[in-house]
């Protein structure tokens, strides 16, 4: 047992340490973009920092968190030892090696291509190889999650897989599908170019392959937060989960609809016809379905808790909820950020409105509210929830934990609300400095300064997170090591085979992907699409 606890803690510590370092870079970047002169502000440093921030937040923090939390769920929800824990450690060290291989060229300025790569720009090959190792480490994790569920089902024939584990395996399978796009781009296009084996690259193909990954990866980041909504929150609030079946359907919908929609990132691209953009827009609209179903189930579960605690009337149960508990507070704040981020996302995916906001600060605001807001605040809440189970020590005080959650929420709102407005005014993303003496730009300055203030609040909160986690080792010892996964109002005795496995859904994903991506990818092989010359950023120094 202690070994698996070490495994989870190792993954989560890597995630949160990387998160803190990347948060420092984020504040500095905001400072560079502002009218206040920042130290070390050169384009070389800015794009180095931007690459490090994006790579860390999108690939390192999220992947390590999902892996660590997955191992924890597999052990606790299934109440059986993890199969082949040695392989889990191999995955961990592969991913660590990969992070080091990627970070060194970034720090040297040899990989300033941002985490989304943008070939024909080409970085040091070590950067890409490092990321491949991180993904390979996570594939081991995905295999172990599937193996753990399969073994449990063999030992418990006919019984429904606990929802937390069913959702974790949905995420593992989603991740395997998700990484196919970026893996193909890296292995067949980008790495041969970085090695010098090829001199040209089909950028239309590489962007299309990356788009395969780019939307589904967001749901890989998000699903641990949803697992907490369904299986940890109702218990923390003192209630029951409204519906176990709705939970299963939600995670199945995520698996189905987060993949065949990536082309909505390419609405403004010249290499795709309007028809496939339109088709994937239609499919994108259905990604809202699992989230809106979740909002209902979670609200209903909280209402049960509020009424059990004596809340009355139409809204009285809201006040009766135990908002002082980190998991409940974090969920409330996460849902507000998910609301703002989600509505922004619906505008992004609108076939006609995307042109107003594509590649502006609006989009930066959207995904910071989703990943930097709802997702990571639930990562914090999960950490606060499971840390005592892992270390056997109670928090000394819940007040700094609440302060950390509140400051993260306030900081994120203060940072991102002005970004939305700046995006509508036409402020582009991924630009290091603006000429604030330009009369067409000077009007942006006070909005940028408000965002900078928000970023400083975020940095305070990130530091407080590390302090809180460190002090969780110093609290009073507790014997309560049992994780309380929420019981459903009507716990399922049996569920249909389709809701207890993924065979049918994998077949459906294949069909949807063939329909949505078959021609958009195939066209680059059917037609003689033009090639672009490779541009090595690592040789330009």
């Amino acid at each position: 047992m202690p070994k698996v606890e070490r495994l989870t803690l190792a993954h989560l510590w890597v995630a949160f340490a990387a998160f803190f370092l990347a948060a420092i870079l984020g504040v500095w970047q905001m400072w560079v973009r502002s009218p206040i002169p920042a130290p070390l502000a050169t384009p070389h440093n800015y794009f180095l920092s931007l690459t490090a921030h994006g790579t860390t937040m999108a690939y390192v923090v999220t992947t390590f968190f999902a892996m660590g939390f997955g191992y924890f769920v597999a052990q606790t929800a299934l109440a059986r030892p993890l199969p082949a824990p040695g392989l889990a450690w191999v995955g961990f060290w592969l991913a660590i090696l990969g992070v080091i291989m990627a970070v060194v060229p970034i720090a040297l300025g040899d990989a300033s291509v941002l985490y989304t790569f943008y070939p024909p720009l080409t970085a040091s090959v070590w950067y890409y190889l490092g990321l491949v190792l991180v993904v390979v480490g996570s594939w081991l994790w995905a295999g172990l999650m599937i193996a753990a569920m399969t073994a449990w089902k063999r030992e418990n024939p006919g019984r429904p897989v606990p929802l937390a584990m069913y959702a974790t395996v949905a995420n593992a399978i989603l991740w395997l599908w998700t990484t196919v796009g970026v893996a193909a781009e890296l292995l067949f296009q980008v790495i041969p170019a970085a090695m010098g084996w090829t001199q040209t690259i089909d950028t239309g193909l590489s962007r299309t392959l990356f788009s395969w990954t780019l939307h589904a990866i967001v749901y890989f980041w998000l699903i641990p937060a949803y697992i907490a909504f369904y299986t940890l929150l109702p218990q923390a609030a003192g209630g029951r989960l409204y519906s176990d079946t709705m939970g299963r359907l939600t995670f199945i919908f995520f698996l189905l609809y987060s993949l065949p929609v990536g082309l909505h990132h390419l609405f403004m691209d010249p290499e795709h016809s309007a028809s496939f953009k339109f088709l994937q827009m239609l499919l994108t609209a259905f990604v809202t379905l699992p989230t809106l179903l979740t909002v209902f189930t979670i609200t209903a579960s909280l209402e049960i808790a509020g009424r059990l605690r004596g809340g009355r009337g139409l809204f009285g149960w809201i006040a009766a909820l135990p908002w002082e508990r980190p998991m409940v507070l974090a969920t409330g704040l996460a849902l507000v950020m998910l609301g703002f981020g989600g509505f922004g996302g619906i505008i992004n995916m609108s076939y006609g409105m995307n042109a107003m906001v594509h590649n502006t600060s609006w989009v930066t605001a959207h995904f910071h509210l989703i990943l930097g807001g709802s997702v990571v605040i639930m990562y914090f809440a999960i950490a606060y929830e499971i840390w005592p189970k892992l270390t056997g020590r109670m928090p000394m005080s819940v007040r700094p934990i609440r302060l950390q959650l509140w400051t993260w929420f306030i900081g994120m709102m203060v940072t991102t609300l002005p970004w939305h407005w700046l995006g509508i005014l036409g402020q582009p993303r991924r630009v290091s400095t603006f000429n604030y003496s330009d009369p067409m730009v000077i009007g942006w300055s006070h909005y940028v300064l408000i965002s900078l203030a928000g970023a400083v609040i975020l940095l305070f909160s990130a530091a407080l997170l590390i302090w809180n986690l460190a002090t969780l080792y110093r609290g009073a010892a507790t014997a309560d090591r049992q994780v309380g996964y929420a019981l459903a109002v009507h716990p399922p005795q049996r569920v249909p085979a389709a809701l207890n496995g993924f065979g049918l859904w994998n077949a459906l994903v294949l069909v949807l992907m063939a329909a949505a991506y078959g021609y958009p990818i195939g066209q680059f092989f059917l037609h003689d699409s033009p090639q672009a010359l490779i541009h090595h950023v690592d040789l330009e120094r």
């Binding site: 239609l282 609209a285 076939y351 006609g352 005014l425 672009a532």
Partner: protein
């Protein structure tokens, strides 16, 4: 606590409500798209980036704004690390203008502030968008896609010229300098 059937009914009612919401959303998007003929830039036209400077259309002498014999206005712009050619683009007020972009090197992108003009510019493709500018004056056209360390310097101006000042030369060309 209510029985399982009742719970299921509340969930189905909510699901129907959500599906109705999604349908309305799609109807609005499709309806406005058709009514105002809004489509994302999907002009699928190849051009070899390696020989762009030799192409008839995107040679230096042919860049910028030109009024054709039939009165249509087209402006041709090359986006290259780290500048636009030309850096200032003159367009007429209240007339449809077609923009054609190409690049010889890496991925770029543009937006024109306060308009719906937005497109990626990919090596290998001509990106085509069109727009009408109702308000005279200058507006910005920054590069909005990371294209290298000089990306932030890649910043152009669109000058919307009122009809009184719009004077194409003998070849139909108009530049910022002359208007």
């Amino acid at each position: 606590m209510r029985n399982e059937q009742e719970l299921l009914r509340t969930e189905l009612r909510w699901a129907a409500f959500v599906l109705l919401g999604i349908t309305i959303l799609l109807v609005v998007i499709i309806g406005t798209g058709l009514a105002f003929s809004i489509h994302p830039p999907s002009h699928h036209e190849y051009i070899d980036p390696k020989t762009l400077h030799l192409s008839e259309e995107f040679t230096e002498a042919n860049l910028g704004t030109r009024v054709a014999a039939d009165g249509s206005v087209t402006t041709r712009i090359v986006a290259t690390q780290f500048a636009f050619l030309p850096q200032c683009i003159a367009v007429p007020q209240n007339q449809r203008v077609t923009f054609r972009f190409a690049t010889p090197d890496v991925i770029h992108g543009i937006l024109i502030a306060h308009t719906n003009v937005n497109t990626m510019i990919m090596p290998g493709y001509v990106s085509q968008v069109s727009a009408t500018f109702p308000k005279a004056g200058d507006t910005i056209m920054p590069c909005h896609e990371f294209c290298g360390l000089g990306h932030s310097e890649m910043w152009a101006v669109v000058r919307v010229v009122p009809p009184a000042d719009w004077h194409p030369d003998a070849q139909g060309r108009v530049s910022c300098a002359k208007s």
